[in-house]
Symmetry: C2
Subunit: 344 residues, 2 copies
DNA sequence: TATTAGCACTCGAACACATAGAGTGCTAAC
DNA sequence: GTTAGCACTCTATGTGTTCGAGTGCTAATA
C-alpha cells in the first residue's frame, strides 16, 4: 500500500514528467511540493516507488520517469479531472457553430478541431454504416453495359457502385427491377440487404423481369461490398512528428503505417465498446503502438448506434486534459447528431 | 560547350549519385568509366564541371554531387530512357488485371501500385469532376425538413449533399421539382449547373411548384459547393520517410503538410497541362518542396478530359526509371479509361 | 523513529584533441 | 593532353577530461 506522501510524490512526478518530458529529480520535486520535504527524504520515497515498480530510471544516476505501471496507477487513482479552460471549450464548440447537414461533415470537423486542440492524432469512427436503414434504391444506366446502383440511407449517406448489366437489356426491365427492389428493401438495414435480396426479391424478379439472372447477379455483387474505410476520419496525422517522444524514424513509419491502414483500426481501438477507455503502452495490441497511449470514448448517434472518438499520443500524454476534452466532445457530439436526426 | 568526355563524366556522376546517395570521387569514377582515364584527369574535368555549375562539393575535400543545374542538364540531355524490366511492367499491368468498374477505383489502385513500384509518393488527379455531364438528378426526402440531393454523372460518379427543405412542404412538389430539374439539366456539365439552374429552371419551377423559392434556394446551395478534394488520390504518403535524403523532421513535416492539403495541389503540380514535366528542387513553387523533384505526366480519360499522374521524390530521384514508368502508365491508363467509357 | 545533511559515486553531455581515410588541387614529369 | 606524386583539407571516429545533475548510503539530528 502506498502512503499519502508516496501518492503525492508519484502524482507530482507523473504530472511533472508529462509536462516537461524530462526525468524528475529529488531536488525539483522537493521545491515543487507544498509541504516541503528535503531532497534526501524524497530520494528515499522515490527509491521505494521504484522498488514497487511505479517509477524507472533512464540510467543509474538519472531522475525518475513513470513506468507503465506508474501511468496506470496515475490514471486509475490520481486523475482529478479539472474543468477545461474556457478557450478550449470555445474551440471545441466551434465544431457546431456552422450548421452542418451531414453526419460525415460534423465528424470530419470534430477530428480536425480535436487534433488542433490536443496536438495529438485523432481518429473518429462514424456510426456503423451497415446498420443504416435503406431509404431508397435506384439504378441509373450509364451506357449499354454499365449502370450505377445507388442506395440512400436514413442518415443521408449515399452508397453507390458501378456494375455491368447484360448488354441489350430491355430498359423497362431495369425500371421494373428498381421498383421491386424499392418495394421490398426500403426499411432494411444495409447489413441485412444481402439476405433479404435473395430471400424476398429473387422469386419476384423471376416473375417480372426478363434475364433477371445476370442482372441480379451483378447488382448483388455491387451492393455487397461496402467501402469499409469510409467512416474513419483522421485529424492531425502528422502530429506525431511534433512529439519530442518520437525521434526514431523507423518507429514513426511503423506507427503511421499502422494507423492509416483501415484494417488495423479494430486492433488500435476498442470499436463499439461503451464509455471511456485508456490503453497505455504495451497494453496496446500492436507492437508498433507500444510507445503510445490511446484514449477512446464512445458517443451516441441516435437510434441506438454509437461511434468512437480516439486520441493517440505518446505514453507521456496529458491524460487529464484529454479525458476532459473527450468527455465534453462525446456529450456535445451525441447531442448534435441526435438533434440532426430527430425526424428520420 | 561540354566536351564528349565531360558529358560522359557528368552522366556517370549523376547516375552514380542517384544510385548511391554518396558524393562521387575521382577514383570511383575512373574505375567506372569504360574508357579509362586516370583519377587526375577526371579531377581536372570535375573541377571544370564544377566551375560551370553542374556539380557541387559538400565540403572542400569531398567528392562531387550534382547541382540543380546538373540535374537539369542530365534530365534534358543525358536521359536515355531504357526499357523497363519485365517485372516492373508486370506489376504495373496488375493494376488492370482485376476488372474494376469505377474510374476512382482504377486511379486509386494506380496510385498504390505506383508508390510501391517507385518507393516514392504518388499523386494522381482524376478528371475534373466539374466537366462531368449530369446523367440524372434525384431528391430523396430524409425527414420532414431534410432531403438529400443526388447527381449522377456520365462517368458513374455520384455527388450527394444533404440540404434542408421548408417544413410542411408538399411531397408532390419535390417530385415535380425533380422532374423539372431532370428535364432541363440532364446533359449539362457540372460546372454549368449553377448557371443553367437559374436561367432555365427557375421560371418553370415558379409556375409548377408551390414555395419554390425556399426549396430552390437550399437546393442550389447544396449543389453548388463541390467536394474539391475528392479526386485526388495518394499512394505511399509515408515513402518520404524511407528516403535517406530526408532526415530533418521539421522539413518532413512541412513537406507532408503541404502535400496533404488539397489547396496546395495546383502549386505542387502543373494541373491540366499536357505531356511530361519535370521540376527539380527550387524549380518548385513552394519552399517546402525545394529538396524535391516532381515528375508529372498527363493521361487522357476520354471525352477530351485529362488527369495527371505525379511522382514526388528527392532531387536525387531515379529520373530514368520514373520517366519510363510514367510513360507506360499514362498510356495504359488512358487506354483503360477510354475502354471503360466507350459507350457513355 | 522519522527526517535530513553530508559525501562519495555514477552517468551523460559537452568539449578538446588525435588519427585515419577519402578526396582535392597543383605541379612537374611523361 | 595525360598522369604520377604530393601536400593539404575536411569528415568521421575514437579517446580523454570536465562539469553538473542526480543518486544511495551513513551518520547526525529532532
Amino acid at each position: 500500500m502506498l502512503t499519502e506522501r508516496q501518492l503525492l510524490i508519484l502524482k507530482v512526478t507523473v504530472d511533472d514528467y508529462i509536462q516537461s518530458a524530462q526525468p524528475v529529480g529529488s531536488n525539483q520535486l522537493s521545491k515543487k511540493l507544498e509541504t516541503p520535504f528535503s531532497p534526501a527524504t524524497i530520494r528515499n520515497e522515490l527509491a521505494e516507488l521504484e522498488r514497487m515498480g511505479f517509477l524507472e530510471k533512464t540510467h543509474t544516476s538519472s531522475g525518475r520517469i513513470p513506468s507503465e505501471k506508474g501511468y496506470r496507477y496515475y490514471v486509475d487513482h490520481l486523475l482529478t479531472p479539472r474543468p477545461l479552460p474556457k478557450e478550449d471549450i470555445v474551440q471545441l464548440r466551434s465544431i457546431f457553430e456552422e450548421k452542418l447537414t451531414e453526419t460525415e461533415e460534423v465528424i470530419k470537423r470534430s477530428a480536425m478541431i480535436l487534433s488542433e486542440l490536443t496536438n495529438y492524432t485523432s481518429i473518429l469512427l462514424g456510426p456503423d454504416v451497415r446498420r443504416h436503414i435503406v431509404k431508397k434504391l435506384s439504378i441509373v444506366p450509364l451506357s449499354q453495359d454499365t449502370a450505377v446502383a445507388i442506395i440512400v440511407t436514413n442518415t443521408g449517406h449515399v452508397e453507390n457502385r458501378v456494375f455491368s448489366i447484360p448488354s441489350g437489356l430491355n430498359p423497362s426491365d431495369i425500371e421494373k427491377m428498381t421498383n421491386i427492389l424499392n418495394e421490398r428493401l426500403v426499411g432494411v438495414a444495409l447489413n441485412n440487404l444481402h439476405l433479404r435480396l435473395e430471400q424476398e426479391t429473387l422469386s419476384i424478379l423471376k416473375q417480372h423481369v426478363e434475364r433477371y439472372g445476370e442482372l441480379f447477379h451483378t447488382f448483388r455483387q455491387a451492393v455487397l461490398l461496402p467501402h469499409e474505410d469510409e467512416n474513419i476520419y483522421y485529424g492531425g496525422k502528422l502530429n506525431i512528428l511534433k512529439q519530442p517522444d518520437f525521434h526514431d524514424l523507423q518507429k514513426i513509419r511503423n506507427l503511421m503505417d499502422v494507423m492509416e491502414e483501415a484494417k488495423h483500426i479494430p486492433m488500435i481501438l476498442p470499436v463499439g465498446s461503451q464509455g471511456l477507455h485508456i490503453r497505455i503502452g504495451s497494453e496496446n495490441t500492436l507492437t508498433a503502438m507500444e510507445d503510445c497511449s490511446v484514449i477512446t470514448v464512445s458517443y451516441d448517434t441516435g437510434k441506438e448506434q454509437t461511434g468512437t472518438i480516439a486520441i493517440i499520443g505518446p505514453k507521456r500524454m496529458d491524460y487529464k486534459r484529454i479525458v476532459s476534452i473527450l468527455d465534453l466532445l462525446s456529450g456535445d457530439l451525441s447531442k448534435e447528431l441526435n438533434r440532426m436526426f430527430k425526424g428520420t
